[in-house]
């Protein structure tokens, strides 16, 4: 994928050294988590909505073949084109060929993580198409030749000064344009409005496709999603194959939890459902809307993940709540994850899509605290899948030798209690020998990783087992006594 990816240790070291990033992450994610709680709290029974949303995701994926086929039928019945792209190359080829054959010179784009996966912009530009990101954060990322660092807040890693410098360098911003954030936003609006006016093609993502109608839905706050799907003569919707719901009523259930989980809003400003190109004939002819509607259903490894133990990660509706709550993400930010999808969802998706070889550290970069599973609107059990990936890592020989050695020893000694107690006693004596005032300042070998930032306690003189043996024998009395609440 990305050949210039630095090693994981380096990526995280850079992030951990970036105090501005970590302060911003903490402030913003804390705020957003508060909004999320309030947003879900405004629903009378948010747990019931989430439970149903999960049931919908699970059921839909269990019949994905049927629903996608139904979707294709309906897209075509409404005069649109559907294309199943098994690989990233297939998806790119479809869009590039479409652009070339239709004389597309300028394409405007609204947010789509799938297009990041397949590097669509890069390939279209090689084919001579000017691609303009129109989502403000993505536009800035594009100007900076950077990558988004969060699913819903792409430039959380940048401050206003950096944006101002960028605007000055790339779009001739004057001082008046940069006086404050609203002014900078208005500058971007003017520049991008001209792009919309000239664009031949609009490329959008898909938050949810609807099988029963052949519709796609975009949820945005800025309005660029609506503009991309309305103004250009060709609209191409890029969709991960798993982003589908069976009916419009199901769509409304997912919409009820999506924005609240992401930003705490009841709904994003524009909940935009597109069904086919604009009608052009007779009395039904509409004044605006595209002449052509294409949906590219991108597989790119999703069917392989679907057929695995990791299928549950495909329930994801890309709200970003798991990122906002993850204490690891708070420290290392999005770029350190190295893939398109950061945070807990990325720690599963990236190795699942790209393989463990290049990304085996990601499932290890977690304390398994479970906060992600707690906040996920569809209750995805990310910790379970991280553990599965860790087991796969061990099987693939990716675990450090000293840990494997230690685990084998634990497994061997742990079924021999006398040996275990003897080894424990030995370790306890060793710690007491190394300690001053009951604490060790530097542990030997690999364990020195602990003492980089923490002291290690000397273990007790008398172990629990020894104390237990010395105790008076009240434990030999065994009475039948029931206590309140005790299960029989």
């Amino acid at each position: 994928m990305n050949v210039e990816l630095k090693p994981f240790d380096q990526r995280t070291a850079e992030a951990l050294a970036d105090d501005q990033l970590r302060t911003t992450l903490r402030t913003v994610t804390t705020a957003i988590l508060g909004f999320r709680k309030a947003g879900l709290g405004r629903l009378d029974d948010s747990d019931a909505w989430r439970d149903h949303a999960r049931r919908l995701r699970a059921h839909t994926l269990s019949r994905l073949d049927t629903y996608l086929d139904q979707f294709v039928s309906n897209v075509e019945a409404r005069g649109g084109h559907a294309y199943y792209a098994a690989t990233a190359a297939d998806a790119v080829r479809y869009v590039r060929d479409l652009a070339t054959s239709k004389g597309v010179k300028v394409a405007v784009k609204s947010k789509s993580m799938v297009t990041e996966e397949i590097e669509l912009n890069h390939h279209l530009e090689s084919a001579g198409v000017k691609v303009v990101e129109t989502d403000l954060g993505e536009y800035i990322v594009q100007l900076a030749h950077d990558r988004p660092s969060h699913i819903v807040m792409p430039i959380i890693h940048m401050n206003r000064q950096q944006v101002a410098d960028l605007f000055r360098a790339k779009i001739n911003a004057t001082d008046a344009d940069l006086v404050d954030i609203p002014a900078m936003t208005q500058l971007a609006r003017r520049v991008l409005r001209e792009e919309f006016v000239n664009a031949d093609m609009g490329i959008s993502g898909v938050n949810f496709a609807v099988a029963e109608t052949g519709s796609i839905t975009t949820c945005t706050n800025e309005g660029n999603g609506r503009l991309c799907t309305t103004m250009p003569r060709i609209h191409v919707a890029m969709m991960g194959i798993e982003r589908i719901v069976p009916t419009v009523q199901d769509l409304s259930v997912m919409l009820q939890v999506l924005a609240r989980s992401a930003t705490g809003q009841n709904l994003t400003v524009y909940t935009n459902v597109v069904t086919g190109p604009r009608p052009r004939d007779g009395d039904g002819a509409e004044g605006d809307g595209p002449d052509e509607f294409h949906v590219v259903m991108v597989d790119n490894g999703r069917s392989r993940v679907l057929g695995s133990e990791l299928a549950e990660i495909l329930y994801c509706i890309r709200c970003g709540a798991c990122l906002n709550t993850c204490p690891v993400f708070h420290q290392i930010g999005g770029h350190a994850y190295g893939g398109v999808y950061p945070g807990p969802v990325g720690a599963v998706l990236t190795p699942a899509f790209e393989g463990l070889d290049a990304f085996h550290e990601l499932p290890q970069a977690s304390s398994l605290c479970g906060a992600c599973k707690d906040v996920c609107p569809v209750r995805i059990d990310i910790p379970r899948m991280l553990l599965k990936l860790r087991a796969d890592s061990v099987d693939a020989g990716k675990s450090p030798w000293w840990i494997t050695y230690g685990m084998r020893t634990l497994g061997w000694v742990g079924v021999r209690p006398r040996l275990f107690r003897w080894a424990g006693g030995l370790a306890a004596r060793a710690t007491r020998a190394m300690a001053t005032d009951g604490w060790i300042r530097k542990m030997p070998g690999h364990l020195s990783a602990w003492t980089k930032s923490r002291d290690f306690p000397a273990m007790a003189e008398v172990s629990f087992q020894e104390q237990w043996k010395k105790k008076p024998s009240s434990h030999r009395k065994r009475e039948e006594t029931r206590f309140p609440g005790e299960r029989p």
């Binding site: 954060g137 900078m184 109608t213 259930v253 400003v269 509409e286 605006d288 809307g289 069917s303």
Partner: protein, 224 residues
């Protein structure tokens, strides 16, 4: 897609589904899920509260003259241009003539010329867009607009100010309730949009900025 392509797609997916570990998956569709949201007697009040909290405004008008006065007050330009939905889609007859009489230029959207950049720039120069609303959602303060002939999408999108004329009978609790009772709003047309307040972003330093691409100001006028 060709029949072959679809068959191949189905095969790949069916095979994957057969080996998938999908916790909680039921073979049958779990069915619909709707909950009552807002007490019917509170619909208008709740809608007003929600839209106002988002920075939008709610007005009342007792006739065309009121509407024109509100519109005129919102765009103090000397030669204001407005995009307006066709009268048959507005809940008050005679709006077009009244606006023209008040000195506003009404831009019309012709399908044939809709493509030219020049025409689009013209439309984009409008100061205000006036539409109706197919529904108003109280729980979220949203205006629901379905597209069609004479009721284009751009009127509620291009200009910096959007004004929607709303009948009180269009008020309903929430989006799930709306879709349960009137699914054809979504299923029949080429475009359905729920507009929940003014266009906004907080991409830069999480500071709120309005009117990024869509309107900076959203007004709902109850006309009955």
């Amino acid at each position: 897609m060709t029949a072959d392509e679809r068959a191949r797609m189905r095969d790949v997916l069916r095979s994957a589904v057969g080996q998938a570990r999908l916790p909680g998956a039921e073979l049958r569709h779990p069915g619909p899920f709707v909950r009552p949201s807002v007490d019917p007697k509170d619909l208008a009040e709740r809608f007003t509260r929600e839209l106002t909290a988002l920075g939008g405004s709610v007005h009342e008008a007792r006739g065309v003259a009121d509407v024109v006065a509100i519109v005129r007050g919102l765009i103090p330009d000397r030669e204001p241009k407005v995009m307006v939905w066709d009268e048959r889609h507005l809940p008050l007859p005679g709006i077009g003539a009244a606006l023209a009489a008040a000195g506003l230029t009404i831009l019309t959207q012709e399908p044939a010329t809709a493509r030219s950049a020049q025409h689009r720039r013209e439309l984009a120069s409008a100061s205000l867009g006036l539409t109706g609303a197919d529904a108003a959602l109280a729980q979220t303060g949203s205006l629901v607009l379905a597209s069609g002939p004479g009721r284009g999408r751009l009127a509620s999108l291009l200009p910096p100010v959007h004004v929607a004329l709303v009948r009180r009978s269009a008020l309903i609790g929430s989006l799930p309730e709306l879709i349960a009772s009137r699914p054809e709003l979504v299923t029949q047309g080429a475009n359905f949009v729920a507009i929940t307040g003014p266009s906004r972003t907080a991409d830069i330093e999480h500071v709120l900025a309005r009117g990024v691409h869509g309107p900076r100001d959203v007004h709902a006028i109850f006309v009955d």
